[in-house]
Subunit: 284 residues, 6 copies
């Protein structure tokens, strides 16, 4: 018969059993408060993933035929605690099967489920926001509380790259809690990203680390498809450098908070970085 | 000084204390599952309300200077039960002050709070959907459960106009529960809308009645700005006729589920119908 | 050489000198107050005119090769009185050359220039709005004052079809000034459009008549590409019937107030009606 | 494990071998000339299909668990003759396996492949356009030539419902070729759709018949998501009536020419009609 | 009662009498000629202002509760000279009350009213365009003439930062009129922005200075929401540096020419810079 | 009579016979596979060309009145080989008349026709993609094969600037075929663009050279209006530098692959670069 295709993430049609990397989407945006639409992110990122060649010249590797499986989207509930439970069960099963979980949000709160399942020692996140609130809008699982929840789960070190937004209380917590290290775009401009990544690499070396990319770490003038856009931010190249450095050593990964209401550029950056992460993990 | 204006609903700048009609918005869409954006509805409806003249030729009344107050939008929480509580407290206070609550959603679940506060005997709703699920997505306050919650609150009669979507179980409940009357677009085409409204008027006459307009009762080809669009529906003229009939006798009113992602026509219909309701209530 | 084409109105590339019908656009929207963008209407209508076949089955005529000339868009000034002067000079010259002026707006105020140049005895307009204000926003040439300006120019009879919006004062003028006849969508539904058009035809028979189509006469749920959208209006078929009746006998014609921010349907209706008008005038 | 889903047409996840109805998409729009984007139609229709309940009240049937399989989209070539070959091979195999082919375009030219594979005696199509050109733009497989190609394949009777656009030559062919019957929106308004469908049913009774829906048969003011939009057309209800009448007896079906650049209403109508066709075929 | 909010600029709800900074919007775009929509800028900037935290980490200050008042939008006339008069009266009153006027356009012409009211000695503007025309489109108050009008008002020094567009005549005036200093993006790249700002600071030190930001100074690839977009421009960081340097010493400020037809990034940059200006003025 | 204008490229209304530069558009996108809409590029670029002043300060030249002619858009066929033939005949005639052909795509495949007509010795292209496939989707004239076709036509040296996408086979061809030189964004960052351009200039000096700009060479975060967007690319300034260097010495030029679905910035960059090229060629 002719060739047909369903819109899964490109080149991720391997059977679950034989795959090393397991992709899944979580189309949840129930606690977001500014622009709606982050729920549409997984399918938008999958769609643009077909725009890219299977061969990655930067890594010199072809992605076709690699042991990668896209499960599709979780059939989610409508409350954040329930969705986080769904994510936790999913990631626990994937990790329990010895595979690498690669989650595509949805809003940032889904990260809490993955961290719960994986119990990392370190948490590296690119984010414009500190996400260190104790609760917001009546829920401790609001996407404004992710980093605080991660700390509460016993993660020993939290590194927030690209941060430039938070409350007075959140910045107070940054100053008072030695587990938290933050790197603003101004810090990174001053020190150089390589120096920052060296510092983080040294502190996380040998420790079980989770890596989360909140798309709004990038300047909203470059990637405006965001639920809570912030100008004066990082460049896509900076996120790529973070993933180059930590993508192959982390125990779990997610890319969240893309809100595909722009002309596709924000999802394109996400898809490209995810494809290069898949390449890097298979190149090793 | 020059004249300035803030974007409140047009001609609704009277002091709360002296107003008879109190407008407020609830920018909540946390349990919706298809298209995102219903949260933006109150401001979109307010914005287009300025496009219309203050004089209503059909009613022969000028809206400027009438005792109508727009409170603005509720600062909402992020969980449906909490938002419904906020709505309940708000409507209770408005009604307690002897004023008429006119709520602009947001998703349909907010209606539950208003019904809780007002304890009507009858509930008339225009809706493509039955909204009779017991729960959905892990919450009994999902917008797919509104009519069921209304029944649970002890409302004696529920009239659903324009319905054309529901599960097998929901349609079973319609058949088995004598409190529920439904009128599909095909029923209305066959019997004539006037006959249907006569029937409802007879059954609700003298009873405390709540009126809710779910914008998706209207055909999505005429008003595509909807979170859960359904074709083969009613016309805006039908909704106007329902409001003409029951708007002046009901104890509370809401217009919900507008999702302003179209070219403005769905919000324009909502704003016009709300303006005419205000006119009708002041004309009496 | 190969065939090339510039985006003029389709099949309107005849030399000015030899043409009977002269099309021109006026990309002006400087006095509009709600949605911006009517300036883009002439080019949008030209663009969609190529979507239609040159043959018109309803009229049994092929438009290719007919003596019709599209001059392009006026290089307009930025003040309404100046733009109206430009239109007046243009229409005066076209009519002075014995040709039929077919103007594409831009906002409705441009009609004043055409009426000034042509000095008709009767003015037939399809419009949701009365446009009978004495002045608005500091200018008597605001697009809310068109019909009043037309009356001031000495036009003896004004027929407003589809009207459903105006101030208390404007409706007062309708009642007090015997030169003005209005037909609301409700009137038309009650009497039938044919009866209304018969009445107007009788009153204008043998008199020099100008015909203006304000696109917002049509219901904004059917054609949402409008600067001042109004629901509860006419259907495109109604406008076509008006143009069928009066298009071939009028001394000048315009189609104004299309604001091409929708999915193209409002400009498509305009282009189709203009093409059929061209056909009708050439079929005679 | 949790439930996951990929975006196939809703409730069409049965294995191919055991299915009676086989859905597939053809994301091709290479010969279109006005608005681009019909290639995105299959995925847009699939996406909105999830917006609808699995239960169909009009048919009293639940679609979940029915033997229906969505193969996904054909991996298409870039030339019309090659794509038509791909469609032909696909439909031949589906029909050869005793299953019903339900194709989602893409542009109308793909219909030629299906007709070639099925060799029907009659061809019923809803279309604003005659599609009777011998060739267009250098190709006999342009989407403006579909009905002519169908005639060339030896189909004995062609019924074109909703037609209102064609060249002088195409209308000449309609008059001269007794195999072609056309029904314009004006014809249908005059005679009543039921009378028209009775006539077609009588002529096709007992004959192998193919049914094709070109989405532009519907008025572009109701469904503006079209590559070649035409106003003054049919209503979605008319298309539903055609599918109600002929959907269960035809040997093959397609829905083509949706161009999802609107607010989703055109795809919503398509998805709903396809779902009801599936229901009708399973209700028999 | 519950908390409600109207869409005024975030954290600008102090009473006028007690406020030091007075924000107001001027939704005027009547003389613009390319893309329409600048009229929607004040509300778009207000809307996105809620996306940002009240705490500003770069300034270490929380904006909530500061003496800042947003009056709302001027109810504007439709002719540029009248609107400029309205602005002049407004700014005169605000300044007369000893408060700082912070105006949000609308098109650039509104600046003329503010300058007339404040009679500064120096005028610093970020703009892609020279705006030095004597008149345009029949009006000396066209937005293409702002800097020329400012000179005519007797302002002694005009500094245009980011300029890269003008007529031959305008560039001639730059060369011949010693009151005008211009800094193109190429100049700034060559000399460094700090050196340029040092030069301007030296020349304006101790003099009454007005600061105007025309949003199109920024490269349209970074902020495409502009009425007259120009590529090859400045970065948002450059505008922030200008406001950091002169925002606290100027006697009046405006941010104009945002045309919110993009994905929100242009308004986001404007809102963020305005918020930081408010912070800086309160930090002193 | 008043001044009118048709939407040709700004300041390109000179008679063909007396013009040195001949602009034409090719609205073809029939072989594209990801985002549709490149067909609309020529008119979008023409439209924004009016946004820019006729005077170019960087070049100190006014474009008005220069001998430049915009023929309009080719009336194209629907198959790539036919369209390429049309382009070849057009360019052959233009070049045969001693004029410079300046083509606006449409998709990249149209370049093959121009190269066929001009038989250059060298081919310089800015492109994210190698375009070195032998065939794609059943056609050797797919836009993914342009550079390979150029090589097949006997062009001795191909320089691909900004490339970052290709198959394993295409990259293999780059390594094995000494006629091909590629410069990735990383190469350019490492070596400096000037050094790269020096190298190319040296190799092409004195040889007949064609220059093609595929808009996707630029990073899709800066110009998202692209049919096959790629992040991590060049800046508009880089393309300007390439055109500065080679625009005045090349024998033919095109700007292709703009897909105007963004907020206009991609077309704005194209129009500005084309205008500066026109200026540079007239400045000489
Ligand atoms: Mn976050
Ligand atoms: Mn964030
Ligand atoms: Mn509902
Ligand atoms: Mn509903
Ligand atoms: Mn009007
Ligand atoms: Mn009007
Ligand atoms: Mn067709
Ligand atoms: Mn068709
Ligand atoms: Mn300016
Ligand atoms: Mn400017
Ligand atoms: Mn290319
Ligand atoms: Mn390319």
């Amino acid at each position: 018969m002719e060739n047909f295709f369903h819109t899964i993430f490109a080149d991720a049609s391997y059977p679950y059993e034989d795959s090393d990397i397991i992709i899944f989407g979580v189309p949840y945006d129930g606690t977001t408060s500014y622009k709606a639409g982050t729920r549409d992110s997984p399918d938008a990122i999958r769609s643009v993933s077909y725009n890219f060649e299977t061969y990655l010249p930067r890594i010199d590797l072809d992605l076709s035929g690699l042991p990668v499986c896209d499960l599709g989207n979780l059939e989610i509930d409508c409350l954040p605690d329930l969705v986080i439970d769904q994510v936790e069960r999913t990631v626990r099963e994937i990790a329990g099967d010895g595979k690498f979980p690669l989650m595509i949000g949805g809003e940032h709160s889904v990260t809490v489920g993955a961290v719960r399942a994986l119990s990392p020692e370190c948490y590296i996140v690119c984010d414009a926001h500190l996400d260190l609130r104790e609760e917001f809008g009546g829920s401790i699982y609001n996407h404004a509380c992710v980093a605080k929840r991660v700390l509460d789960l016993g993660v020993g070190e939290v590194f927030i790259i690209g941060t430039r937004s938070g409350t007075f209380e959140e910045y107070g917590l940054v100053r008072s809690d030695s587990r938290i290290s933050t790197y603003s775009p101004e810090d990174i401009a001053a020190r150089g990203l390589d120096a920052v990544l060296d510092e983080i690499q040294e502190k996380t070396s040998g420790k079980r680390t989770y890596l989360s990319i909140d798309a709004d770490a990038i300047d909203c003038c470059l990637t405006p498809g965001l639920g809570t856009p912030e100008p004066f931010g990082l460049r896509p190249e900076d996120i790529r450098a973070v993933v180059d450095r930590f993508g192959t050593v982390c125990c779990g990964f997610d890319y969240v908070e893309v809100c595909p209401i722009d002309n596709g550029q924000t999802a394109a950056v996400a898809a490209k970085i995810i494809r290069e992460l898949i390449g890097l993990k298979n190149k090793k």
